[in-house]
Symmetry: C2
Subunit: 329 residues, 2 copies
């Protein structure tokens, strides 16, 4: 098994990708191909001693930036790390792709290059989030901002497989995000999605509300990509704002500063629990291949975890389970 | 000026409404009419000594519950505190209405009873939220889950007036919530709203993202009622989850417990800053009257603040400013 890693995606590329890849090779025994600017990757690799048999490099001279237009860049930059990396999967030279780069470009390139699984119309992005009771999956968080009701059923089937085979839940509960719990609530789109989900074989528990997400009410939270994108960004923003406000308050008081130092073990433990990077990034589901999109601010540990989760998607053959489930409809 | 208060709306009704009304009369010198179950209101009032000239009661024997269907309840329960209270405004016996009850029912009853301001098609709910730099307004947070692009322009005009005349901002910046900053991002609905806002006289700063909301990037954040509802509920949920996780972590460590006690001044100060009730609840804008919807979990202080803000909407004549602005288009 070989995991292809885009070495040029993260804000701190290629340093974090190279370090994460080295950790994945050394600690997890995985084979990794780093794709990107070879001289820069080699330079980074020097930090980690002699060369490793399980770690190879494929040169890609171009880079698609975080703010480059996705579809145009993918068509024009055929030598970019994203396009070259996904081509390796297409040619059978790699089993999964990990990138911390431009999400839109990865979705676009993966859909063009790998194509979709049979029976699917649109890919979607699923992300695991920490909750009060454990971990849940939100899907879609931004691949498809104008889905049809049938896509929500397909997202439900894909996120269900993710929960079962990667997160090891036996009968994941599936909730549809809405503005109220009653079946009569929401837009026409939501009501139609509700009907399709009710008639499915999924363990559908009905509508859930924004407040239920982090309470862990459902193992899978289904929403359109616009709402999912807003949820993730607002959640990060609330936490960042709280931390900044706490810092300001603490600075204003000597006693509080002493207290904060003493309470820091609690904060650190909490921080670890809330750390998205522990969960291995966002999964692009629905493409005929395995594709993980990490946060632009990924650390080496986040990259290592993404590589680990990518290998689990391969060994658990999640895509086969998804296709079998889709065929049964 | 007389503020009509639904005494039966909050989770702890009528206790918090009665206490909040007494505070508004005693501390702010306002005239308040409490509407609801008269014997229960009188019983609560006994706690606050002899009767007050500025505080009166209008009996309403029925109550619309939090989970009652909005439109049906408003039509059937003509003797409910919401319907009776809004009728007082219609008859000119009150100048503003405050309720901590069923949001959908208040929106529905207010629209039917007070009608809309000339030139408007749909009401919207605006709410003031604390940010890193001060306070911003989000609109709509749930009155209209399927708005048209023109409604977003109208929401912009209304929230702009709220920011100017109640929050005293001189040239409020208006942002459109989207999945990216670029003009080309988002659904067709968002792109059309973007065009209308660009061509308006508003101080429109373009698209903003979920992470910009609490950073205070814009004074006004415009979004549809579905997204706005999710934002508010997710934000509350993230904070609640953090607090619960911190409590768990702290319990697990004696040193952390000591630290937390010492740091409590910082947390209390922070809590006050994040307290929505300081900002006087949510404003139902667009109806031909003043209508404030408080949180179901409102305290007496929250009700008092809502009454205060309601009186400011009257004295600043915000609706006249909105109508004049709408007429200029």
């Amino acid at each position: 098994m070989k995991i292809v890693v885009d070495a040029m995606g993260a804000d701190k590329a290629p340093a974090v990708e190279v370090e994460g890849a080295v950790q994945a090779v050394d600690e997890l025994g995985l084979n990794v191909i780093l794709v990107g600017d070879e001289p820069r990757i080699r330079e980074e690799l020097k930090k980690y001693g002699e060369s490793r048999e399980k770690l190879s490099i494929v040169h890609a001279p171009e880079t698609i930036g975080m703010h480059d237009p996705a579809a145009i860049s993918v068509r024009r930059k055929r030598q970019s790390s994203i396009v070259v990396g996904l081509d390796l999967l297409k040619k059978g030279e790699g089993d999964a792709f990990v990138s911390a780069g431009n999400t839109g470009a990865v979705v676009c390139a993966a859909t063009l290059s790998l194509r979709l699984l049979p029976g699917l119309e649109r890919p979607g992005i699923a992300i695991a989030i920490p909750t009060l009771t454990g971990v849940s999956v939100i899907m879609d968080v931004g691949a498809n901002i104008t889905p049809k009701p049938i896509h929500m059923l397909q997202y439900g089937i894909m996120a269900d497989a993710y929960s079962r085979y990667i997160l090891h839940k036996t009968k994941p509960t599936i909730g549809l995000l809405n503005v109220g719990e009653e079946e009569t609530k929401g837009t026409e789109f939501i009501k139609e999605a509700y009907t399709l989900l009710s008639e499915s074989k999924l363990n559908f528990i009905g509508n859930i509300e924004g407040r239920d997400i982090y309470a862990g009410t459902a193992d899978v939270i289904l929403c359109d990509g616009f709402v999912g994108n807003v949820i993730l960004k607002v959640s990060e923003s609330v936490i960042d704002t709280l931390v900044q406000l706490i810092k300001r308050e603490i600075k204003a008081s000597v006693i509080a500063t002493v207290g904060a130092v003493l309470a820091s073990s609690a904060f650190n433990s909490l921080k670890k629990k809330m750390d998205y990077s522990e969960y291995g990034g966002a999964q692009l589901l629905g493409v005929d291949g395995r594709c993980i999109i990490s946060h632009g601010s990924s650390t080496a540990k986040a990259i290592k975890n993404a590589i680990r989760v990518a290998s689990e998607f391969v060994s658990e053959d999640v895509n086969r389970h998804i296709v079998e489930e889709l065929e049964s409809y």
